[in-house]
């Protein structure tokens, strides 16, 4: 008699562990498959004009040789990048650095800020310049850079940045 409850408990425990494992796997998969890049047309005027390229930390040099080390020392895990175009003219690039923790993202955000930096309400913290926006949200650091400065650049970049933030 005393073994019956034990068996029952064991079964329940096994089921619970299996359920937790399944849930973890599902959540893990969801995290791994987060796509922060808005599709063409998702943000008014913006088209995604390239495939997303992903670089593991050890291969980051292939994308930003010479710059890679500062991200590696701040704990970058992977970097994703994609090109965009606004209204068929203004070209920009979106880089999303996934760091191992929020401290790494904060460190990069604080690096190299100039007196022209304007604080923007994006993610956990962010700054904007005439042709670029950089912000962090959790362990993610996002850098959006336009190749041209026009009267519309800043507003367009901000709209795209909000689109990326919403997907993080």
């Amino acid at each position: 008699m005393s073994c019956v409850p034990c068996t029952s408990h064991l079964k329940n425990l096994t089921l619970a562990i299996a359920a937790i494992a399944l849930l973890t796997a599902v959540v893990g998969c969801k995290k791994a498959s987060i796509n922060p890049f808005p599709a063409s047309g998702a943000i008014s005027g913006w088209d995604k004009t390239s495939d997303t390229r992903v670089f593991a930390a050890k291969n980051l040099w292939q994308y930003i040789d010479g710059d890679a080390e500062q991200y590696i020392s701040a704990g970058v895990v992977s970097t994703s990048t994609s090109d965009y175009k606004y209204q068929g003219q203004l070209e920009a690039v979106v880089d999303v650095y996934t760091m191992s923790d929020t401290a790494g993202a904060s460190k990069i955000l604080a690096t190299g800020q100039t007196k022209d930096a304007k604080t923007v309400t994006l993610g956990d913290a962010g700054v904007a310049y005439a042709q670029s926006i950089i912000f962090r949200k959790g362990p993610s650091l996002v850098r959006i850079v336009a190749y041209e400065s026009t009267p519309r650049t800043q507003d367009a970049l901000l709209a795209l940045a909000h689109g990326v933030e919403a997907k993080l």
Binding site: W61, I64, D65, G66, D67, Q70, G112, Q131, A146
Partner: protein, 331 residues
């Protein structure tokens, strides 16, 4: 050069060939107590009011720079003076597109150089515009082309790298691009002036990181002595004989990537044969700009470009970094 035996033969004898092949006189500068010439040619109107580059003015600026450097007023004569003698020589133009579209060698400069090379007698197919890979070249606005009836343009991702690594000093052990070792008789460097987060400055000598398979292995110690060592590898030393440095735009901080918040337009070309003197001159330009912006010196920022002095030392003898031995012509 078509096979490995010839490649090894050339790399082994490159140091001897330097003195014999150079028509410009760097060997004489290094051997005697004379000066290295560096020309900084400027045109404040190179960028129009709309921020776009005036391509015609780039060509005119290039002509002025070459005339000042060679002492030959006519562009064709100036170019003939720096080119190797004899027909069929392959001229490589090593651009730098690492920083992406915003801070790569300007297309207008590449086109201007190609135009003058052809007028000086180089056939289109004898010109190879090259860099690490297609992406870097496209960042400059170039189109990949291997058709030998036109100017060729492709990266080391197409040509591949030598199987046999070459070494210099204690730190450099690299596999070189076959474009350098097998295709080109002479390479003209077309670097773009930039701040560099590790080396301090990237310009003429640092541009050679784009000719090796794994440049990421050469960044320790602020790229010192690796930049100097790499440039001392005989085939690099022998073939990379002239530099037309792009200082049309530059980043004075945050480099080598594109940081528009630190973008600056010197509207200049920096031209010469002595890569050490060129880098010293470029370094000083960046220091002055950083001072104007209230930024710390490279020394204070913890990344002085020490590789420049290393390249000038007795072990390397790549050029001169003593301002007293640099004949700086600012025009």
């Amino acid at each position: 050069m078509n096979n490995r035996r010839e490649f090894l033969k050339t790399t082994a004898t490159g140091a001897f060939l330097l003195g014999a092949q150079s028509r410009l006189g760097l060997a004489a500068v290094l051997d005697r107590d004379t000066k290295s010439k560096v020309v900084v040619a400027r045109d404040p109107a190179l960028h129009g009011p709309d921020g776009q580059i005036d391509e015609k003015r780039v060509l005119v600026l290039l002509d002025r720079a070459m005339a000042a450097y060679t002492g030959r007023e006519h562009p064709v004569e100036a170019w003939k003076h720096i080119l190797p003698q004899g027909p069929g020589k392959i001229i490589g133009l090593k651009t730098n597109g690492l920083g992406g579209k915003g801070i790569s060698t300007h297309l207008a400069l590449v086109l201007a150089v190609c135009e003058r090379l052809q007028q000086a007698g180089v056939k289109p197919g004898e010109i190879i515009v090259w860099d690490r890979n297609a992406r870097d070249l496209e960042a400059c606005g170039l189109t990949i082309n291997s058709d030998p009836s036109r100017v060729r343009c492709f990266g080391s991702d197409v040509s591949g790298f030598e199987d046999e690594p070459v070494t210099f000093g204690s730190a450099v052990n690299v596999k070189l691009s076959k474009i350098l070792t097998r295709e080109c008789d002479m390479v003209i460097g077309l670097p773009i002036l930039k701040d560099h987060s590790m080396a301090g400055v990237t310009f003429a000598m640092k541009n050679m990181y784009g000719v090796v398979q794994h440049p990421q292995e050469l960044h320790a110690g602020g790229c010192n002595p690796c930049v100097a060592d790499l440039n001392c590898i005989p085939v690099v030393r022998q073939k990379v004989r002239f530099t037309i440095g792009d200082a049309i735009s530059s980043v004075y901080d945050g480099g080598p990537g594109f940081h528009p918040e630190h973008l600056w337009q010197p509207n200049a070309l920096i031209v010469g044969e002595d890569r050490v003197a060129l880098d010293h001159t470029a370094w000083q330009m960046l220091e002055r700009k950083r001072a104007e912006e209230g930024m710390p010196t490279f020394e204070a920022a913890g990344r002085p470009p020490r590789y420049i002095a290393t390249a000038a030392d007795v072990e390397h003898k790549l050029g001169v970094d003593d301002p007293q031995r640099i004949h700086l012509m600012e025009i």
